[in-house]
Every structure is written in structure tokens, then in C-alpha cells.
């Protein structure tokens, strides 16, 4: 009886997902699908400057968009950029709404259970960043402080793991909202990346400073599990654009800095299913 019930539920869910997305069952053959149709759709964040933004024409743009364009050009496919958000990007990928993600996705063991990763294509250093007049030299000193983070982000995981009893963690739907809370004085510090800090300092210089490094994180392109051919193809592409300087060019364009060294010889193991 239980088994029957579970089966029915799974069927209902499958129907629901397929009806909602027009998903094709040939999940493992994404590379072939791209080659056959000459089209690929890539999910990217649009609220994560300068990696993913909406430009003056209201089109997705930024580092991730340029990497996605390079990749589509390299594969000879017509590109559709699909805006996703931090919390929904993995469901978008797994639900088949996009072929792959160039969505500033950091490698974590939890995510590795659901998606496969390419070699890293970007790196972010995440800081605890707060009001200048408050001293927070290390994780222990977060006690009694109110810290804002974007819900479900890598900095959320880092702050949650490091925070001692008595630290209040406030989770917002996006980095923008967490930063807004910092600017409004609703939180004393936020966990954000160096690039977001760069933008805050342009808007509000000298009010805040970097407290300590929460974590250094590399970002990868993400695939549905089983898309090994596509993954190999993308890794080959990444190796090439790192070597010929095209990726560095894009990094200079958006981040005013050379491609982080860690990307050239990344020696940590990338989890894979």
C-alpha cells in the first residue's frame, strides 16, 4: 500500500514538473540536444553584481553573461540567458528549465549531491563586513551581534557554521536586501563578497570595513548529474579560455582585476557523482 502510494506521488510529481516546464525526458543527452537544436539556455543570476546584472537595456549582463556568451559562441549555439535567483537556480537546472548554470555557484558538498561541477571559472572571497566603529576581529566576536546574510548563500552557510551562541543571524532573500539592512543600520555586519563590498564603498565610503575572511570560494558551471559529455566539453573550453587570456579579459572588464591565481592551478578535488 505504502509502495503504491509512493509510486502515485512520484507519478503525480513527474506530471506536475513536466506540465510546468515542458521538460524533455532525455535528460542525460543535453550536449546532443544543444548540438541538434543549435540552441542552449543558460541560467544566471541578475542580482549579483558584477557577475550577474541587468544592464541599461534590461538584459542579463555581467561576468557570468560574458562567460556564457563565450561558451555558446564556442559551441556554435544560439544562447538564451535565463535569469535565476540564488534560491531557485538549482531547482531551475534540475527541473530542466536551463541546460546549465553559469550562476556564480560556489562548490559545496551539499550542492554536489544535486549537481555536477565544471572546473572553476571564477573565485570570490567572502568577508564579514560591518560598521567601522564595531570591532569584530574573529568569529567568536560575532556574539551579541546581528549579522545579515542572503538566505541559502555560501556566506549564509559560513556565518551559520562560524557563529557562536548568542549571535543573531538574519536571513534575507538576496544580497541586495542584506546590504540594504546594513545601510539602514538594521544589522551590524553582513557576510558579502569582495565585489559587493567594492560597490558598497562607492556608495557609502568609510562607514564600513572588512572584519575577517569568512571563506574563499571558487565558482563553477553546474550541470545536471549525468551530463558528463557536456561537462567534459565545457572543461575543455575553460582550459582554452584560461590559456588564451579571454577569461582574464572578461574578468578585467567586470572586476577591474586579473583572474584570481587560484583558478589557473586549482588542485582541490571537485566533487562528482
Amino acid at each position: 500500500m505504502m509502495k503504491y502510494f509512493r509510486h502515485t506521488l512520484a507519478t503525480l510529481a513527474a506530471i506536475g514538473v513536466m506540465a510546468g516546464t515542458g521538460f524533455s525526458p532525455a535528460q542525460a543527452q543535453t550536449l546532443e540536444k544543444i548540438k541538434d537544436s543549435g540552441q542552449m539556455s543558460i541560467g544566471m543570476l541578475v542580482d549579483f553584481p558584477p557577475y550577474g546584472i541587468l544592464n541599461e537595456q534590461n538584459q542579463p549582463d555581467g561576468y557570468d553573461a560574458d562567460v556564457a556568451k563565450l561558451l555558446a559562441e564556442d559551441m556554435g549555439a544560439e544562447l538564451t540567458l535565463v535569469p535565476v535567483t540564488g534560491p531557485n537556480r538549482i531547482p531551475y537546472l534540475l527541473g530542466g528549465r536551463v541546460d546549465l548554470l553559469v550562476a556564480s555557484l560556489g562548490i559545496t558538498p551539499d550542492r554536489a549531491k544535486r549537481v555536477d561541477y565544471s572546473e572553476p571559472y571564477a573565485a570570490i572571497v567572502v568577508y564579514l563586513y560591518g560598521q567601522t566603529d564595531i570591532d569584530i576581529p574573529d568569529a567568536e566576536a560575532m556574539q551579541g551581534k546581528t549579522i545579515g546574510v542572503a538566505r541559502g548563500s555560501t556566506q549564509d552557510v559560513a556565518v551559520t557554521n562560524l557563529a557562536p551562541e548568542g549571535a543573531t543571524i538574519q536571513r534575507f532573500p538576496s544580497d541586495a536586501a542584506a546590504v540594504q539592512a546594513l545601510l539602514a543600520g538594521q544589522v551590524q555586519a553582513v557576510g558579502v563578497s569582495g565585489t559587493v563590498i567594492h560597490h558598497i564603498e562607492q556608495r557609502a565610503p568609510d562607514r564600513f570595513d572588512k572584519k575577517f575572511v569568512l571563506r574563499e570560494q571558487v565558482q563553477s558551471i553546474a550541470f545536471r548529474p549525468g551530463d558528463d559529455e557536456l561537462r567534459a566539453r565545457v572543461n575543455e573550453f575553460l582550459g582554452r579560455v584560461k590559456e588564451n587570456g579571454k577569461l582574464d579579459e572578461v574578468h578585467q572588464k567586470w572586476l577591474d582585476s586579473p583572474l584570481p591565481d587560484v583558478l589557473y592551478d586549482y588542485d582541490k578535488e571537485i566533487p562528482h557523482q
Partner: protein, 223 residues
């Protein structure tokens, strides 16, 4: 396509979900109670108050009813600190909900009051009731009975709308659900469960409202 529903990580966090649901219930119930008082005052001002007060209340009702709830919440949480009023996420959420439901309920109760025939009011005065007694027993109570279904469905709607307060990091049921979803990636399962929980809470509030209705408005109706 294989889609395995895996509820285990969701049920493993059932304590968090219950905490979130309790937060939603507390926020909603408080906002309903305070909002009702606000609405009765507003409706009185709009129907029987001095001209100046009528204008103020009309302005309040129109501003709230013609702007999105999400924007109202952002305004209170992110905007008010620059005017020197800093509220924690829960107070900000409660304030936003009270202000919001107060405006809608003001209009509902005003409609109820205007449905009371003038003769009934005069009958009250003929019995020697003072204006305040007359408003309370002869006007307000039958008015509330008339609009009770509209009022309570607005309250239920308020509880469902409270799912928005997670945007200012208040830990209601939706916030807890998104946190669990982003940690386990079992988003569909989480939303399945919290949908069911919202449904149960709505039914619960509805039942409570019918009990209150039977207790408070027992006297015979003329229809």
C-alpha cells in the same frame, strides 16, 4: 523522467517548521486583533467622526489599499530607520500587517455601518441610549454581524499574505520553508508541506471564526 519525492529532510526539520508556523499564527492573530480595533476606530471616524478625521482616515485607507503590501513592508523596515525608527523584523512585520489589515477592515466595517437603517439609530435614541452606547449596541454590533464573512475572509487573507514578511528576515513559516529548501534542495517537498500547513492554519482560523460568530452574534436576525 525520474522524480523521487524525498520528504525525509523536510520532516527531519519539523520542529523548525512548527516554530515557523507558530510565528505565522502569532503574527496573524496579533495583527487581526489590533487591526480590528484600528478598523473600528477608523470606521467610526469615517462615518460619524469630525470632518478633519474623516479626511485623515480616508487618506490612510486609500494609501494602504492602493500600494503593494511588499512595498509597505520594505518602507517600514528599510525606510523608517532613516527617520530614526528602527524596528526589529518581527515588530516591523507586525506593524506592516496591522496597518495593512486595518485599512481594508476599515472599509469593510464602514460598509456594514452604512447598511444600518437610520430608523434603527433613531430607535436607539428614543430608548434613551447615549451616543456612545447607541454606536456600540445599535450600530456597530449589527454592522459587524452583517460584514462578518467579509471581515473574516480578509483576516484569512492577511494570514496568507504574511508569507511575504520573510523578505525582511522575519522567521515565519515561509522563511523557514525557504531556508530548509535552500539547505536540502528539496524545494518541491518543502513547498508541498508548507502549503498543507497554511491550508490547515486557514481552516483552523475559519473554525475559530465560526465559533466566535455563534458566541457573539446569537441574538435573532430580522432576516
Amino acid at each position: 523522467m525520474e522524480f523521487e519525492l524525498n520528504f525525509a529532510p523536510v520532516f527531519a526539520s519539523y520542529e523548525l517548521l512548527l516554530q515557523g508556523a507558530w510565528m505565522t499564527i502569532q503574527l496573524s492573530a496579533s495583527a487581526m486583533a489590533i487591526g480590528l480595533v484600528l478598523a473600528v476606530l477608523g470606521a467610526w471616524a469615517k462615518t460619524s467622526g469630525p470632518n478633519f478625521l474623516r479626511g485623515v482616515v480616508s487618506g490612510y485607507v486609500e494609501i494602504i489599499r492602493n500600494t503593494p503590501f511588499l512595498v509597505q513592508i520594505f518602507f517600514i523596515y528599510f525606510g523608517l530607520p532613516s527617520l530614526g525608527l528602527k524596528l526589529d523584523p518581527y515588530s516591523a512585520a507586525l506593524l506592516a500587517m496591522v496597518i495593512n489589515v486595518g485599512a481594508y477592515a476599515t472599509e469593510i466595517i464602514r460598509a456594514g455601518i452604512e447598511s444600518i437603517h437610520k430608523g434603527q439609530l433613531e430607535a436607539g435614541y428614543a430608548l434613551g441610549l447615549k451616543p456612545r452606547q447607541n454606536f456600540r449596541y445599535v450600530v456597530l454590533k449589527p454592522a459587524l454581524r452583517t460584514v462578518y464573512p467579509a471581515l473574516t475572509s480578509q483576516f484569512i487573507f492577511l494570514m496568507l499574505t504574511s508569507s511575504v514578511v520573510s523578505v525582511i528576515s522575519a522567521g515565519d513559516l515561509t522563511a523557514v520553508g525557504s531556508t530548509i529548501g535552500s539547505q536540502t534542495f528539496a524545494s518541491f517537498e518543502v513547498y508541498f508541506v508548507i502549503t498543507a500547513m497554511y491550508f490547515v492554519m486557514s481552516i483552523g482560523f475559519s473554525s475559530l471564526f465560526s465559533v466566535i460568530e455563534r458566541a457573539a452574534f446569537r441574538y435573532p436576525s430580522n432576516r
